[in-house]
């Protein structure tokens, strides 16, 4: 009995997790571990449990006559039913060129947007530290073509559209009146969004000297060697 309730809750949580993972493709596990994301999963799990409770109160059997299977049929319907209900819109309102759905989906959209903002804010600091650390010795002029090409080569299946977008961003950076340090950071940020922190770090480590900034020339020693 308790297993059915647990599975129904898990259904809801998994659907919520899939939504969050789709929003944060670079490091989905980090996004899922934040408090707002956990709250969103809990909300989806509770919706599924609520749906299961309603189904049981009204005694809907879904046409299944075997009593052993009826409970599981109710679990599946509750899991997917809550998902469909929460994401449904009853009607739409047009405001200018925008179409605004009215219904439970609107509420979920607002919740998801606030989760997204919170997760993004929380991860911005972490991302800044990581990028700064990974790209600290990288020379933008050496890396802006080689590093993305190598990362995309590692991934193998990055869509052409994403590659085109990235190419445009890099061309913009290459011509921008900014210091190479900031350009390197922006290159790292954009790459991290596409390939994730681990792939970026591995690529920087593998390319090593090819993209590393030249060390500053050694300062001339003030003491001169005695001339015998």
């Amino acid at each position: 009995m308790w297993l059915e309730w647990a599975v129904a809750g898990l259904f809801g949580a998994l659907i919520g997790a899939a939504e969050i993972v789709s929003q944060f493709r670079d490091e989905p596990d980090d996004a899922l571990r934040t408090l707002p994301a956990l709250g969103y999963l809990l909300f989806n799990a509770l919706a599924s449990l609520f749906a299961l409770a309603i189904i049981r109160i009204f005694g809907w059997t879904m046409g299944v006559e075997d009593p052993a299977l009826t409970g599981w049929a109710q679990v599946v319907v509750a899991g997917f039913g809550a998902m469909a209900l929460l994401r449904a819109s009853i009607f739409t309102v047009r405001e200018g060129e925008r179409v605004i759905p009215i219904g439970p989906s609107r509420f979920l959209e607002v919740v998801l947007a606030s989760v997204k903002d919170s997760v993004d804010r929380k991860r911005a600091e972490q991302r800044g530290i990581s990028v700064s650390d990974i790209m600290k010795d990288v020379d933008f002029q050496k890396a802006w073509v080689a590093l993305p090409a190598y990362c995309f080569g590692l991934l193998q299946n990055l869509p052409q559209e994403e590659q085109d977008k990235f190419g445009k961003k890099m061309a913009l950076l290459a011509n921008a009146p900014m210091s190479d340090r900031v350009k390197s950071l922006l290159l790292g940020l954009s790459l991290m969004n596409l390939v994730g922190e681990k792939v970026l770090a591995t690529a920087v480590r593998n390319l090593d000297k090819e993209i590393r900034a030249d060390p500053p020339p050694p300062q001339e020693s003030k003491t001169t060697s005695p001339n015998f």
Binding site: N175, A176, S190
Partner: protein, 115 residues
């Protein structure tokens, strides 16, 4: 040429960079728009155009480029067409703000000294 466009590893990236670098040489309107958006976040399109002080054709071209690069997006609200940053554009803006914020402060300080 076509073989780059059809590649699925990194050929599209190299092709796109090659094209874009040649097209955009000497054009800094997109970065001017990013600079303004980094401080304002959301700005009416007409206001942005008066701020960057370029021709309509150049402005439109730069806007299209930034949209294609996934850094800015257009939104409609009661004030008309608004220009705002995408999620990645916001990440760029945070970094650009640090760089250009210092440059702006230095410029303001030297202006005050001259006065």
């Amino acid at each position: 040429m076509q073989k780059f466009a059809q590649s699925d590893d990194f050929g599209s990236f190299l092709w796109s960079v090659q094209q874009a670098v040649h097209q955009r040489k000497g054009q800094d309107t997109p970065m001017l728009i990013m600079h303004n958006l980094a401080r304002q976040k959301k700005t009416p399109v007409a206001q942005m155009m008066t701020r960057v002080k370029v021709s309509w054709a150049d402005f439109n071209d730069a806007l299209k480029y930034l949209e294609e690069a996934g850094l800015v997006k257009m939104e409609e609200d009661e004030n008309g067409s608004m220009l705002c940053l995408t999620e990645e554009g916001r990440h760029w803006a945070q970094t650009i703000n640090g760089e250009w914020g210092e440059a702006d402060e230095a410029e303001n300080a030297s202006g005050e000294e001259r006065e």
